[in-house]
């Protein structure tokens, strides 16, 4: 569970930064395309977004794995759940990273 607690606390910290960045401007303005793109162009903020993506994905899918392992126990089930959640976690991280890279301008 150490990885679950570490990613949970880490996610709490970077998500707090993410929310604070949204609260420094009026809510509607914070969603305007130009404002969002300017956020992505800020390298440190893009790194924070990547950290949120990785930490929350690990925490979320590991939590789901724990719940599913509590419900049922067998070698096949446990291995299947572990492999499926790791694949889903990697897929989500890759998909989110693609967005960050494109919006940051590296991929344009």
């Amino acid at each position: 569970m150490k990885i679950h607690y570490a990613t949970g606390l880490g996610a709490l910290f970077v998500v707090a930064i993410h929310i604070l960045m949204r609260l420094v401007v009026p809510y509607t303005s914070s969603l305007e395309y130009d404002h969002v793109i300017s956020n992505y162009h800020n390298f440190l903020y893009a790194v924070a977004l990547e950290a949120i993506l990785v930490l929350v994905a690990i925490h979320g899918f590991n939590g789901l794995r724990v719940i599913l392992l509590e419900l049922r126990q067998s070698t096949l089930w446990e291995n299947g759940v572990s492999v499926a959640t790791i694949i889903a976690m990697i897929a989500l991280i890759l998909y989110g990273t693609r967005t960050i890279i494109i919006a940051n301008g590296i991929g344009l």
């Binding site: 509607t28 395309y33 993506l53 939590g63 789901l64 049922r72 998909y95 989110g96 693609r98």
Partner: protein, 150 residues
């Protein structure tokens, strides 16, 4: 012998029914159940959020189209629920980390009738109440920001 072990394991396997059995509810049971439900809900939201924000890669029109779908009264009510569940999950999660570290558990004592578990003491219950109260406060704050626009 092997089949007997397997049979016992199956008898003890209650699955979702055991998880949601309301006859066993106490505050700790409620917190256990709520932590898992909010966790699954937040994971679903997070996957949706990653997909939602990916529209930024499609340019201004794609982004604005996605905003039209999500920035509605129902979208905002959903976000208020996300604010409440994430606050509860975070604060209750911190309580669980502290508990696993041995904080707030109390001292072990002789089990006397009516067998109140020493681990479910005032500190633990306060932690659950603090998580619920902060979730309610965060939801009120979110409501003020999100529904203040309508």
């Amino acid at each position: 012998m092997k089949s007997l072990e397997f049979g016992n394991a199956r008898e003890n396997r209650e699955g979702l029914r055991g998880w949601l059995d309301p006859s066993r509810y106490g505050w700790e049971r409620f917190a256990y159940w709520a932590q898992r439900l909010t966790g699954v809900f937040l994971l679903i939201y997070f996957i949706g959020h990653v997909y939602e924000t990916s529209s930024i890669a499609g340019g201004k029109d794609a982004w604005n189209l996605m905003l039209e779908l999500t920035q509605t009264i129902w979208g905002h009510l959903f976000l208020i629920l996300v604010i409440g569940t994430s606050t509860f999950h975070s604060v209750n999660g911190i309580r669980l980390i502290l508990t696993e570290a041995g904080k707030g558990l109390g001292k072990p004592g002789r089990p006397d009738y009516p067998y109140h578990p020493s681990s479910l003491n005032r500190r633990q219950r306060s932690g659950i109440w603090i998580a619920l109260t902060l979730a309610a406060v965060a939801m009120l704050y979110g409501t003020n920001i999100l529904l203040g626009e309508h």
